[in-house]
């Protein structure tokens, strides 16, 4: 639970005071020109960060970072953008110097692969690619590739640690914080909830294990946006996945600790010695919501369907050369060893009823309107922007505790009010510090605390000459008030980080990397080391030729 209910702003007060007094100095004057002994001025830094409408916390943080950057001599062009224009301009068109964005973390991302490979390997620097900074380092690429193929966990960890250390030194990005938080719930109507790593009350194991009080027959769950689509062939948004996986089963599920555990599969996959053949046996006697049995043919059908149509998962199935079935057993033959196959493929591909989906011509376009799966919840009814109704599937081998689950979309502030007014039972969004303080004092409302594995981060556009200098990047990283972000702005919710892999993932997180916390003196030293100089107005310049 939360400890600090009132926040302290002592540190930030100092910064603000300096700005306030500057304008009262005189009535008119002339700004002095450049000194002779300095070179060109360092280009203005184009800093893109969210508007307060898009993300109030990060918007506030962006303002503080920009203030600090100006304090150490940068000129800053502050560009506050809404989410779509922000993503389009930075990730899409690479038009930025520094960009403040986040990256969500779900159990699928507990494995370090995406963080190390997609986000920093030089294959992903194209427009729209996940390597937004355009970081290209052949030494690093080697590490990223090696960790993906290393089947031995110990050996893989060493590589992962080394990769993190390299990223911290090169600072293509400044990792700021894992924005974990508190999700509120009604503690009168719910005996217990079960927040999970990275997801809080949105987690699969919360819906499975949350325990309603005796007289409660339906649980309402609020979230700040509606589900886009329940069609697993279209799922792009995390909130969609969080409900699709209630309705559809996979061979393996991510357990409460984020480890894949056998689900529709009987046991762990049998992997041969060179790591290219995976064999899985499925449970017998399990059925879909319409009563048809789940067979190995459904499994094969589903994998073929995903390989052909899924925009998000087909890439994970690329290494498969051949699939064969035998009895209740399916064998995957891969073209090369893949340490991530269980997590990325076996634990993420949903099993569809072949008797329904084989009739559908274009599975990315057309839904099965009944959403027949074999998961622990079954679909009942849905009206957009109003509610979605699910009930527990009692014939499941692991049925959920609750009987009925209602999902309510809406604006976040209204949903928070509804929790406080006992109109809904739990919420998959973080309250603001103010709301959290209030809920903390409310005996009927509980706050389920969880750690995040996604993060808020700065990306530096290394395609641009001035940003290609590690001293500039490090100096800016020293301008980021990570502590103040967590303590003051987020009211204590979250964890400061210095690495792409969250500290809470103890197996993978390297705690001994170079750290950057708010330190303007260190920032100036860093710039001096890069031989930058300041003019009479304290503006940053390249050295004189």
């Amino acid at each position: 639970m939360r400890s600090n209910s009132r926040r302290s702003f002592l540190r930030s007060v100092g910064v603000a005071g300096a700005i306030g007094s500057a304008s009262l100095a005189g009535c008119f004057g002339i700004d002095e020109g450049d000194d002779e002994e300095v070179g060109e001025e360092v280009p203005e830094i184009q800093f893109v960060y969210p508007t307060s409408g898009a993300n109030p916390d990060r918007s506030e943080l962006g303002g503080l970072i920009a203030d600090n950057m100006e304090e150490i001599g940068f000129e800053v062009d502050r560009q506050e953008l809404d989410f779509d224009p922000h993503v389009d301009q930075t990730v899409g068109n690479h038009d930025f110097d520094v960009s403040l964005l986040g990256w969500g973390g779900t159990p699928e991302r507990i494995d370090p692969h995406i963080f190390l490979m997609d986000m920093h390997h030089s294959d992903f620097t194209g427009e729209g690619g996940r390597n937004t900074p355009g970081y290209e380092n052949p030494d690093y690429d080697e590490l990223a590739e090696a960790q993906a193929q290393e089947v031995d966990e110990e050996a893989r960890r060493d590589i992962v640690f080394e990769a993190q250390a390299m990223l911290a030194e090169d600072q293509p990005r400044c990792y700021i914080a894992n924005e974990g938080g508190d999700h509120p719930y009604n503690s009168e109507r719910l005996e217990s909830v079960n927040p999970t790593l990275g997801e809080g009350l949105n987690g699969f194991w919360n819906f499975m294990l949350a325990e309603p009080a005796d007289d409660v027959d339906q649980v309402t769950f609020g979230y700040s946006s509606d589900i886009i689509s329940l069609n697993p062939m279209q799922d792009l948004a995390t909130p969609d996945r969080q409900f699709i996986r209630l309705i559809y089963d996979q061979l393996y599920r991510f357990g409460e600790e984020g480890e894949p555990i056998p689900w529709l599969a009987e046991d762990d996959p049998e992997i041969d010695e060179d790591g290219t053949t995976f064999t899985v046996q499925i449970r017998e006697g399990h059925s879909f919501h319409d009563g048809e049995e789940v067979t190995i043919d459904d499994v094969l059908f589903s994998y073929e369907l995903f390989a052909e149509y899924s925009p998000t998962y087909s890439v994970y199935l690329d290494p498969i050369e051949e699939m064969e079935t035998d009895g209740n057993e399916i064998t995957f033959h891969l073209s090369e060893p893949d340490a991530t196959f269980t997590r990325n493929a076996l634990a993420q591909i949903y099993i569809f009823p072949e008797h329904i989906w084989s009739e559908i011509d274009d599975p990315t376009q057309q839904d099965d309107e009944e959403y027949i799966g074999s998961g622990p919840f079954q679909f009942q009814a849905w009206e957009r922007e109003v509610e979605m109704q699910l009930t527990s599937f009692d014939d499941h081998f692991e049925p959920p505790v609750m009987d009925t689950l209602i999902r309510v979309p809406g604006d976040e502030d209204a949903l928070m009010d509804q929790i406080e007014a006992h109109e809904i039972d739990m919420l998959g969004n973080d309250p603001t510090p103010t709301q959290a303080d209030r809920m903390d004092e409310d005996p009927d409302i509980g706050l389920a605390t969880f750690e995040a594995i996604g993060h808020a981060k700065l990306a530096y556009n290394m395609r641009r000459d001035h940003m290609d200098d590690v001293h500039i990047r490090r100096a800016i990283s020293y301008c980021v008030p990570k502590e103040a972000f967590i303590e003051d702005i987020r009211g204590g919710m979250g964890t400061v980080t210095h690495s792409p892999i969250a500290p809470v993932l103890e197996d993978w997180h390297n705690p001994d990397v170079m750290e950057f916390t708010e330190d303007l003196d260190a920032a100036r030293e860093e710039l001096e080391e890069g031989e930058y100089v300041w003019d009479g107005d304290d503006q940053l310049h390249y050295p004189a030729e």
């Binding site: 009132r6 926040r7 302290s8 702003f9 002592l10 930030s12 007060v13 603000a16 005071g17 700005i19 306030g20 304008s23 009262l24 005189g26 009535c27 008119f28 004057g29 002339i30 700004d31 002095e32 020109g33 508007t51 307060s52 409408g53 109030p56 506030e60 303002g63 506050e80 953008l81 809404d82 224009p85 502030d413 928070m416 009010d417 406080e420 309250p431 603001t432 510090p433 103010t434 709301q435 209030r438 003051d488 702005i489």
Partner: protein, 329 residues
């Protein structure tokens, strides 16, 4: 767009005027007449007085809210050195956030320890800027469209009025929201979005009024002595529709301010400045509506008072435009 539908019986009495010496004088007298008649009306119109007083108060607050510095190249000069607001609107002045009114912070503080009083004072500026510029531009465009349309008639009238009809079909706020969202939430875009719609009311009313003036003898005689179209439109006719235009300007200020506040409330307010609507948006996004009455009521009441003052003034202007409304004498 007005609350009541103004009638077209405003024509000032002193028309004709073929005697060359007195013409200019007469014109000025005509212009002053409207103002004077408003002045005398105002003496008995309590609401109009209150409106003017409130508006004057807000204008003063807006001007003296923060020092104004003008910069031209490296030369800068502080043309207005006073600062009514004790703090900047982003300054974090309290060590503890979300605190009710105290002597140091009469309107309390925000969740991030900012002074609400300062924000409300500085927010006056955004309201004044958006309100006046948007209303002025809207009325300027509307009046010109109306005059040109009515004076030339024919296809000019047809085209301009069809455009006006189209604009009448555009829902105001949704359009402003879409436009500001698309072009970005800057001061200019917010004003443009408001102006693009707001001119339509003025255009229609001015047109119908000018149509009636076109027939009058003073226009005929001006034409007879060879006055140019421009001169007839802007020197002869314009002063007669000026009271009506100022009435519409008053209402335009009200609508512009409400629209700006609504946009800001949705998080689409102009960036880099604070407005009353934006303060309320901040309260909402901080999730503090429930307890922080000191934070949400001052800006809300300020919006209400400001718009009300403009409506009060509008009502008394209306009596100049439409003498039928003067009652109780």
């Amino acid at each position: 767009m007005s609350l009541d539908t103004p009638s077209e019986s405003t024509a000032a009495q002193a028309e004709g005027g073929t005697e060359s010496i007195d013409r200019r004088k007469l014109r000025w007298r005509r212009r002053l007449n409207a103002l004077r008649s408003w002045g005398s009306l105002l003496k008995e119109d309590r609401l109009g007085q209150i409106g003017l007083a409130i508006l004057a108060f807000f204008i003063l607050v807006g001007i003296f809210a923060r020092p104004i510095t003008v910069e031209i190249g490296p030369v800068w000069s502080q043309v207005q050195p006073f600062s009514l607001a004790p703090h900047g609107y982003t300054d974090r002045v309290a060590t503890e956030g979300l605190h009710g009114p105290t002597w140091a912070h009469p309107f309390g503080t925000t969740d991030l320890g900012r002074d609400v009083l300062s924000q409300v004072i500085i927010g006056t500026r955004a309201t004044l800027i958006v309100g006046t510029i948007a209303a002025f531009m809207a009325v300027f465009i509307g009046a010109n469209v109306g005059i040109v349309s009515a004076y030339y008639g024919g296809w000019v009238d047809d085209v301009l009025m069809r455009i006006t009809d189209i604009v009448y079909g555009v829902p105001f706020l949704p359009f402003a929201i879409a436009l500001v969202f698309i072009l970005g939430a800057t001061l200019v875009n917010v004003i443009v979005a408001i102006v693009l719609i707001l001119w339509r009311g003025t255009a229609r009313v001015v047109r119908s009024q000018v149509l009636s003036h076109k027939q009058r003898p003073y226009v005929e005689s001006a034409r007879a002595i060879g006055a140019s179209d421009f001169r007839i439109m802007y020197v002869q006719i314009m002063p007669n529709v000026l009271p009506l235009i100022s009435l519409y300007a008053a209402f335009a200020v009200a609508w512009a301010v409400i629209a700006e506040a609504s946009l800001s409330f949705l998080g689409l307010g102009p960036q880099g400045m604070i407005s009353w609507g934006e303060i309320i948006y901040d309260v909402r996004s901080a999730g503090a509506l429930r307890e922080a009455w000191w934070w949400v009521f001052p800006p809300g009441i300020a919006i209400m008072l400001f718009v009300m003052s403009v409506f009060f003034i509008g009502r008394s202007l209306e009596k100049v435009v439409n003498p039928d409304l003067r009652h109780g004498k």
